[in-house]
Amino acid sequence: MSLRVLVVEDDREIRTVMQSALAVEGFEVVTAVSLSEAQALVRHSAPDMVLLDLGLPDGDGTELVREVRQRSNLPLIIVSARDQEAQKIRLLDAGADDYLSKPFSIGELLARIRVALRHRGTALEPAVTLHELDDLSINLGTRLVLRAGQPVHLTPTEFKLLARLVRSAGRVVTHRQLLTEVWGEAFSAHTHYLRLYMGQLRAKIEREPAEPRHLLTEIGVGYRLATA
């Protein structure tokens, strides 16, 4: 049975392009042109994933994200334009899995969908505990981090930060999510902690910290651990 993707997009052209591109990849596509329609389809057509465009005529989507998150861990990807930064971050913090900036290529879209689907069900199944890419290997169970086969020594906070990114590998994790989950609610605005610790992590893990391969920066939003 093919996976069902709900595309919420009010622009007909983009909707058509996304629909046919996803159909070619073997997805079953249902579409909605407004939030209210999307809410009805989420309840009744049981999609396996949602692609939610920002700037719909009837609202900003926060309500939809909350509603979805209350009931399931249905993967939800935000599709936003560049001038919708604040809204995008709000929806990510509300529980959306990832985002994609317009204009995007179909390749990027499919990569995001693959990552989101890989994480599907992480709330029930054991979380991702092993991450390997190129010469980097991270095992959360044994707390072992290897770079080119050599163990990397991390402080407890550095490890906590890295572990949080590994659990969401391939997906963006917002500043607020990292700060509250690693340092605590009281530190949710202390972005400079994040900058300093991420700098330390990059120095230990990356070959070229100024052009990272693993710990990617999503400017103004958060960080992403590369999976490909």
Binding site: D83, P103, T157, L196, P212, I219
Partner: protein
């Protein structure tokens, strides 16, 4: 009418003093002179009274003088009886002379006073006109007008201007009935008074500050008892001066607004013309390639098809960058727009910018040298990222050799520089380089027109600078200098 001596008690005392002095002098010279000379002394007293005192006091003085002359000097003396007809005539003539003189003197004095008053008013009008011509705001005009009215009509005189909604401004000092009178003036653009309803208060007049059919406010004055029509005329003259000044100011304001609007329009037109030019070229490519694929696909080789698809992708990406730059420039030129500043790492911003431009840099010409442990910046990361992408994009476009990206801290400044080995930029063109759409099409390349203007605007919005210098050995070096703020310490190391 006012006499030279102002207090009534003093005036009467002066009458008594005059009569007593004339009598004493008459008695003193009594042994040596005739009645005629003594009569002359009284005439002198009456003349003095006329000169110094009011009409009433002068008349009383004349009567007193005649009575005293009669009593003290006209035989039979020490009685009010008159025994010779000649003396009776003398007394009667004297009374007549005294009365006439007094009337003449008072008339003259009144005329002098009126002349002096109108001279003072003329001077006031002149001074006010001079000051008003130098005034630059309605507020100033109001202050000058209030002062002039108070000087001419006393402290009860008041003035109120209209607000932008053409209603009378809220002046707390305005009595409700005066306000009502002023509002009537505004409505009718006419003075109100006894013959035009509503009559505000006895002797209070409201006048509109009207010029060229527009009303800018109203004044209210208390008319004096004397010469009310001249006073009203003066008030009209003052009001007219004030109205002219306000008219001039409103004309100036609308002229400035019109000029500003014209300038904005011109900037917008230039911008739209340039951007539509920059949009049309990639759109033409996209449309040409896609319609060609639509209609001629069967006859195109796979290689040709791939090339067309590649063109569409490249041009679409270019349009994306152009849109981003336009958006940022519009944001930055809005003075109300605040930057989303946070503590940001230069290393991260460089990393993100490199990730964005690498697809256009398959030969990996960009070589970054970013030292570890740079201080954090208080910056808008999206904007700084855009700045770097623009500089790197340009360097890739305008040069073929290696491109350097390096950072350095110098005292309280962080310098981030992009160096290329392109043709360089002549010194004469550098100033124009950072203005939107000033680019000369020297290289046949397009799209840099907006990019550098955005970079410059971003640098300035961060309290920094963007400058371009020549490199020894050829090429240009674009350096961004940003202030380094005191670093935020970690409160605790968890």
């Amino acid at each position: 009418m006012t006499a030279t001596v102002r207090q009534p008690a003093l005036r009467w005392a002066f009458v008594i003093l005059l009569l007593t002095s004339a009598t004493m002098a008459g008695l003193l010279i009594d042994p040596y002179v005739s009645l005629t000379s003594q009569a002359m002394l009284y005439v002198l007293a009456v003349e003095l009274a006329c000169y110094r005192l009011g009409q009433l006091e002068a008349a009383v003085c004349a009567l007193g003088a005649v009575a005293a002359l009669n009593f003290f000097f006209v035989p039979p003396r020490w009685t009010f009886a008159v025994d010779q007809r000649e003396h009776l005539i003398a007394l009667a003539v004297m009374l007549l002379v005294a009365t006439l003189t007094s009337r003449l003197a008072t008339g003259m004095r009144r005329e002098t006073q009126a002349a002096r008053l109108s001279e003072g008013r003329a001077r006031q009008l002149q001074e006010l006109a001079t000051r008003l011509s130098a005034s630059s705001s309605a507020h100033e005009v109001r202050a000058l007008g209030q002062a002039a009215l108070a000087a001419a009509f006393g402290p009860t005189a008041c003035l109120a201007l209209t607000n932008p909604q053409d209603r009378l401004e809220d002046t707390p000092a305005l009595a409700p009935e005066v306000r009502a009178g002023m509002e009537y003036c505004l409505r009718e653009n006419a003075a109100n008074g006894p013959d035009s309803a509503p009559d505000v208060r006895p002797r209070t007049r409201c006048l509109p500050l009207g010029e060229q059919g527009r009303v800018f406010g109203a004044v209210a004055i208390q008319l004096p008892g004397a010469q009310p029509s001249e006073s009203l005329e003066h008030a009209r003259a003052l009001a007219s001066l004030l109205a002219q000044a306000l008219w001039r100011l409103s004309l100036n304001a609308s002229m400035l607004a019109a000029r500003g609007e014209a300038q904005r329009q011109e900037v917008l037109n230039t911008f739209l013309a340039s951007i539509s030019h920059d949009l049309r070229t990639p759109l033409a490519t996209i449309l040409g390639a896609s319609t060609s694929l639509q209609t001629q696909r069967d006859r195109l080789s796979p290689v040709q098809q791939a090339r067309m698809l590649e063109s569409i992708t490249t041009e679409a990406r270019y349009l994306g960058t152009l849109t981003d730059n336009t958006l940022q420039l519009a944001r930055l030129s809005n003075p109300m727009q605040e930057l989303h500043r946070d503590w940001e790492s230069v290393e991260e911003i460089v990393g993100a910018a490199l990730a964005r431009v690498r697809p256009q840099d398959p030969m990996r010409r960009i070589r970054s040298e970013i030292p570890a442990n740079l201080p954090l910046l208080r910056a808008d990361p999206v904007l700084l990222g855009q700045l770097l992408v623009n500089l790197l994009d340009n360097a890739l476009k305008y040069s073929d050799a290696a491109i350097g990206l390096d950072a350095e801290v110098r005292q309280d400044w962080l310098e981030l520089c992009v160096s290329d080995r392109g043709r360089g930029i002549p010194a004469t063109e550098r100033a124009a380089l950072f203005r939107p759409y000033s680019r000369g099409d020297r290289s046949g390349q397009r799209g840099a027109g907006l990019g550098l203007a955005v970079c410059d605007a971003i640098a300035r919005a961060h309290g920094g600078t963007l400058a371009v210098t020549d490199r020894t050995g050829g090429g240009s070096r674009f350096c961004l200098r940003l202030p380094v703020e005191p670093q935020h310490p970690l409160e605790e190391a968890p």
